[in-house]
Symmetry: C2
């Protein structure tokens, strides 16, 4: 679900150090040589991983994907890695203890989005290398979301292992296989007592990411909306009225219609213009943006080309024809009620004279602080019940509350320092309009900082021809080896700043 929308592509100014970069990584050349020597192995590792797609919505390769993830972690130097069972697909928990005073948390997803092979120009599971303007890139489902960036992270660890060196920080890692269905059981993984005890030692958590623009800039997302994915189902069989299955449409006058019932129920959920949630009490806990958050968004808008963004999205107007800044403030600050899909009765070409026994709206509700996923479900159900739609099935298939991380946390400050060291321009994005389950870390009981972090690039998440850059032709943008070395350098930077903070 990550990395798809970065409207507020803010580029906050940051100085480029005059001093030589990477000064804090001892004997850096040795590690860099190890990364370069393992280039083919790392690439092969990514290709093999892409060949085994775990797709939660299809229950595809779910135990295999977890076991594969576990093995990848052990191979990279984690001393222990184990499956964590849930009510859904198992997670993986691993630790790498190097005896350091500082522990860093890492979040991996090992699942990928569904794909339609016929839409791809290169087979989605082959991981072929293709030449792009950006350089040599691997094409495959999961390439950038998230196996490529995660492979870069693992490549950093392999360099330590290959050189027999200890990491300057300890690692504790949790991985899930249900990110693409909105992490319905991720809380069960993290709140496993053994996992929780280990995570509590961490100064924060990040997921390896690769979002460099062509000018080399990247951003740190300090927060993201939460989400609740719901299928609303109106069923004659469940309702006890109307047809149990599709019947001839001529019956309509005398028989109740589940499809119309769904339309009437949906109609109550949003404002007359179809845009604003109108569910009872929906805004009770909506917290306005802070002045600092507004400032960051304004900086982002100032640096962004509105026309380019609209063109890329294929839209000609923002809602209400608002100006760019107003629209982006709305995007960050407002909860949503979205229809992902409608399906009922006959869906082929033209018409067919049936009256359907079932109608379904697939929806997602984006949540902003301080709304919670639990609150959203309770309020949606109460709203429908109050209006006599208690028969509409509310099937919550996934979701989690919003997440926020303090830019003054050690995690974010050390990341900003690492980006500065690497001469990578970056911006702070106060809140992604998309979602990721960061709240599992930032919420109680852990209350840890949690963000996406990394360099490198790629695109096409959830779309055909998803790609991740392996060998960059642009000195400002990292390929696989540079991305791995960035994590190596980050470990040392974090250790150095943590030490400073303890003094």
């Amino acid at each position: 679900m990550r990395n798809l929308v970065k409207l507020a592509a803010a580029v906050a100014a940051c100085g480029i150090l005059a001093a030589p970069a990477f000064a804090e990584t001892p004997n850096r050349g040795q590690l860099e040589q190890a990364v370069k020597s393992a280039h083919a192995d790392n690439l092969k590792r990514l290709q093999d991983w892409i060949a085994l797609p775990t797709i939660a919505a299809e229950q595809r390769n779910t135990p295999q994907g977890a076991e594969y993830m576990r093995q990848l972690l052990l191979d990279a130097g984690f001393q222990q890695a184990k499956l964590v069972s849930t009510d859904g697909i198992p997670g993986v928990f691993a630790t790498l203890d190097s005896g350091a005073p500082t522990t860093l948390g890492i979040y991996f997803m090992y699942d990928v989005k569904q794909y339609v092979p016929s839409e791809w120009s290169s087979p989605p599971l082959e991981g072929r290398l293709v030449d792009r303007a950006e350089g040599k890139a691997i094409v495959g489902r999961g390439a950038v979301n998230q196996k490529g960036p995660e492979t870069a992270f693992l490549a950093a660890l392999h360099a330590f292992k290959a050189t027999g060196r200890k990491l300057p920080v300890n690692l504790v890692l949790v991985a899930e296989g249900e990110e693409e269905i909105a992490s319905p059981h991720f809380k069960q993984i993290v709140q496993n007592p053994e996992v929780l005890a280990a995570m509590q030692k961490a100064i924060g958590v990040f997921i390896p990411s690769a979002g460099q623009e062509s000018n080399g800039s990247t951003q740190i997302d300090l927060g993201a909306k939460g989400v609740m994915e719901v299928q609303l189902i109106s069923s004659g069989e469940h309702w006890g009225r109307g047809p149990a299955k599709d019947v001839h449409s001529s019956l309509k006058a005398s028989v109740d219609s589940p499809a119309w019932r769904l339309v009437k129920a949906l109609n109550t959920l949003v404002s007359e213009d179809g845009q604003t949630p109108a569910i009872d009490g929906w805004y009770d806990n909506v917290k306005p943006l802070t002045e600092r958050q507004k400032q960051l968004i304004a900086e982002g808008v100032a640096e962004s080309n509105e026309a380019d963004v609209m063109k890329r999205l294929g839209i000609k107007h923002w809602y209400k024809d608002e100006d760019y800044l107003t629209s982006q403030l709305r995007l960050a600050s407002q909860p949503t009620a979205n229809i992902q899909g409608l399906v009922s009765g006959y869906t082929g070409p033209g018409g067919k004279t049936v009256m359907p026994g079932r109608a379904e709206a697939k929806m997602d509700f984006r949540l902003v602080p301080d709304m919670t996923r639990e609150e959203a479900e309770a309020k949606l159900k109460a709203h429908l019940a109050k209006r006599g739609f208690g028969d509409i099935i509310v099937k919550v298939s996934g979701g989690y509350s919003p997440t926020e991380t303090d830019e003054n946390s050690l995690l974010v400050k050390s990341q900003m320092a690492a980006l500065k060291n690497a001469k990578v321009e970056y911006s702070l994005n106060p809140r992604q309009a998309g979602s990721w389950p960061g709240v599992t870390f930032t919420g109680a009981p852990l209350k840890l900082p949690a963000v996406g972090f990394g360099i490198g690039t790629g695109a096409g998440a959830h779309a055909p021809d998803e790609w991740y850059l392996i060998d960059s032709s642009n000195p400002k943008v990292a390929g696989l080896d540079e991305s791995a070395m960035f994590y190596v350098d980050y470990f040392y930077e974090l250790a150095r700043m943590a030490k400073g903070a303890r003094k």
Copy 2:
């Protein structure tokens, strides 16, 4: 579209003649022998026809089906048969002039409904014979709707041809290949000057039908609702707002949603309970049922088993829990606005975080006298435009106005007489809840009586394993040969009564 719903399965009392039946058919044994001798040929003719499905919605076998129809008519003894071009799929027009003083109009459809072969227990195009409780039946798409009954009618004509005898009436026949998409061009066929001139000589029109119940009873449908089939499409591309194609759902807060727009537009079309059309002026021309129509419906309800009907339809409650009679009066008298299907965005299992660029509702509106198809389209469009939904595409894919025929017309009186002669119990149904394009005959300029008529049986129209009875094991229900002989006898009965009427 015919023959699917016969809720008001009225069984009006009718005496069974003590006198020998068929007394009016001269040298009947000769014709009966011809029908029996041609049994295998007639069956083969039906099987070959089933093997060539014309499906208008899929533009499948459309010129071939018309040409095949033309040839079938010539083979049966029509002296001329020609294609009639339209803006859509061609019709067929044929005449059989036997120099008689009376001319009978016949309506054929040569198209069939779509089918899904995997749902059939016998291949839908093979026309295999299977043993049923009712006797030996042919299974195939179009078996009962309408190629089987039409084949029985043609078999009657072949008997005249084989015996070198002249029909006691002249025939003028029109056939269309778009009945299953609501006859969008049938008016063009009938109003072709040559066709119109020929049809004006007819005393009325019928479509060969086969609707005997297991007790042998059948009904004559004196009228049927009209219909307008419409696809309502909300498209970001057409609207100029919202996404032109599916985009990531996180954008919802700042981008208009075509799917929500469709929901909001649909919401205005019906009452709060989703049941009654709420389109401006929709009821302006709705004519109440006459006392005679109510009486016929009440007779039908009295003879019908409500529990059986509900069980067959798979419903547990009529709308508003009305009693059976009230519900059946509503069914006959009220116009409808039905959702046939909804399709937008992601329609697979679970959810997918997209915001669709397009949403479509497939609808049919059933119309009662004196509403017209043209009025319905104009009012629907005006209703949407008045509420600011002028961007919603209203794609009318077919339809026609309602139809009514006088039970005192020569056509119906001669049919009642023929049924009495054959000792077949029958009822009069004042108005089918379903639709057929009878208005093309009953409306201006022809203003002819028009009904469905015949004996025999079958089921599964529009459904898998559609069948038509060939050899009946029930003496009260006709097979193919008996159905053909019924038309033979009817020709003589009509000629006799027409002669009486002229006296």
